[in-house]
Amino acid sequence: MHRRGVGAGAIAKKKLAEAKYKERGTVLAEDQLAQMSKQLDMFKTNLEEFASKHKQEIRKNPAFRVQFQDMCATIGVDPLASGKGFWSEMLGVGDFYYELGVQIVEVCLALKHRNGGLIMLEELHQQVLKGRGKFAQDVSQDDLLRAIKKLKVLGSGFGIIPVGGTYLIQSVPAELNMDHTVVLQLAEKKGYVTVSEIRSSLKWETERAKQVLEHLLKEGMAWLDTQAEGEAQYWLPALFTELYAQEITPEEAKEAIP
């Protein structure tokens, strides 16, 4: 009987076929990579041309920046992923946002003793602008949000919490779950909240409301006012407007916590 497909000869043939296939496979990948390399060079040229005409527009026009970012996101490109990326190098968008990130970190650190690591986007915006000085380029709130999203990657607890049509920016790795967020949103209207308000607005049990408020107190994000008329009020320094806020030293901040 003549068995086919076995024997040293067959094995050798199979090996040869496999080797050829492998070779071909490598060649295919090489081809495609070469093609990508070429296309990349072309794209770089296109981007250079675009930059020469519109780099200023991106720099000066926040609305155009938003458009640019949105379009990138739609096609699956992150222009801020790396300082080494084409976008960053040629349009200068990288340096703009990365530097902004540094400024945001510094502002949050400076005010942490006052607000426990929670700050309204508006206040952050004002403080950052102040720090940048009057000859620096203007930044929009959208710019801040994008920079903050990038900072999250560093693991130090940056978060964005939507409240009342704007945002609270968290800059400490404190656990803030849905319950905490909802109470923050409730407090946003007046800058403070009481247990009764939480009970009536959110229909929670007293215990649940108290837990949330105590957590915020512990984290230094809320201050307790026991001298308020009626019941105790839990104030959020992050929500103080310029009207109420004064310069508080870290020592004074400590005193304010019961």
Binding site: A29, D95, Y98, G155, K218, G220
Partner: protein, 386 residues
């Protein structure tokens, strides 16, 4: 001031310019109005005032409206003035800047002198009444504009037209920018598609692609800012760029780390490094990706991620577990400490102080007291005194 009418400032046929003077302010009787710096022109027929800053703003009054004129001498801080008394405005007067006025006279204030000459010529014209002899016809161009070819649109209609043109120009610039942006994005999209197709091929061939080619591919992705479709991990991690960066960081952070007790949060590192660079800054992702390679490159620093998600860079020689022992000592000395207090005592950031205390707790050396007053740590007496 309600005798004035808007005008193009162009002289009419038969109208001749007599004299003109810069730096003249118009006043409605005793009150200042917005026409504060202009060129005053006297022609055979009219008194014309044109704003020096905005040439489109031009008003005039016929000389026939003038009853009489008188001079007001200059004083200290006051310019010489000519007071012009006027007849009431005619009912068929062309529209002007003011509908009504409580004064029947205006004042011409000569801030840059020239009052004497002007007064002389104005008196002459009023006396001679040459406008009665030379009826005006079509307007002729008195082009004092050195820039010939500029669109000579004047008057309110002209101002509006100019603004509209400017708006259109801005719109055109913006829409051109958007158009170019769209075209660019189309090309970028092609790149994304191509990278996906390559990634698929790589997946199919599982390991038949060389190490070198993988690195090349990753660096292409990095340049474009495309997420690695194969591993879905952070953009282009493990490229030559990140390796170089890791080595740079090792050199750069040695001293700062030693100054800070051997440990720094990644956020601190980000700020430190970028402040030092000034230009060509690192993205947060660049930093994380480079730090991930520290250990494999056998560099003297390493990346550590705590349970809480906080990321730090430590010196290899730094041993956090050993630090815990000294932390326990410190806490024992004081009886109890919060993260804030500990941070201040030891001279480290609150963030890292907290992590150290939490680690000590995890190792069983400390106990926590969690209350509204904050999180306080005590030596774990259950362990030591049981």
């Amino acid at each position: 001031m309600d005798r004035f009418s808007w005008t193009s400032g162009l002289l009419e046929l038969g109208e001749t310019l007599v004299v003109q003077q810069r730096g003249v302010r118009l006043c409605d009787g005793e009150e200042k109005v917005k026409f504060d710096t202009g060129v005053l022109l006297l022609s055979t027929h009219r008194l014309i005032w044109r704003d020096q800053k905005n040439h489109e703003c031009c008003i005039a009054v016929p000389l026939s409206q003038i009853v009489f004129i008188e001079e007001q001498a200059a004083g200290i801080g006051k310019s010489a003035k000519i007071v012009v008394h006027l007849h009431p405005a005619a009912s068929n007067k062309e529209p002007g800047p003011f509908q009504s006025s409580k004064y029947s006279y205006i004042k011409l204030s000569f801030k840059e002198h020239g009052e004497i000459e002007f007064y002389r010529r104005l008196s002459e014209e009023i006396t001679q009444r040459r406008w009665e002899n030379m009826p005006t016809g079509q307007t002729i161009q008195v082009n004092k504009d050195p820039q010939a070819g500029r669109i000579r649109a004047v008057g309110i209609v002209g101002i509006e037209r100019k603004l509209e043109e400017k708006r259109k120009e801005t719109d055109k610039n913006i829409s051109e920018a958007f158009e170019d942006l769209s075209k660019l994005m189309e090309k970028a999209k092609e790149m994304v598609e191509l990278s996906k197709s390559i990634a698929n091929k790589i997946k199919e061939k599982q390991g038949d692609i060389t190490e070198d080619e993988t690195i090349r591919f990753k660096s292409y992705l990095l340049s474009m800012g495309i997420a690695n479709p194969v591993t879905r991990e952070t953009h282009g991690s493990g490229t030559h760029y990140h390796m170089q960066l890791a080595k740079q960081l090792a050199g750069m952070l040695q001293t700062p780390l030693e100054e800070r007790g051997g440990i720094m949060s990644l956020t601190e590192v980000y700020c430190l490094v970028n402040r030092a660079r000034g230009l060509e800054l690192l993205s947060p992702e660049d930093l994380v990706n480079a730090c991930k390679m520290l250990e494999s490159l056998k560099l003297p620093l390493r990346l550590r991620i705590f349970d809480s998600g906080v990321m730090v860079i430590e010196l290899q020689s730094h041993n956090e577990e050993e630090m815990v022992a000294s932390a326990l000592e410190t806490v024992s000395e004081k009886g109890s400490l919060t993260a804030d207090e500990f941070a201040k005592l030891v001279g480290m950031s609150v963030l890292l102080a907290k992590e150290r205390l939490l680690l000590a707790e995890k190792m069983g050396h400390l106990c926590r007291d969690d209350s509204v007053e904050g999180l306080r740590f005590y030596p774990n007496l259950f362990l030591t005194q049981s």
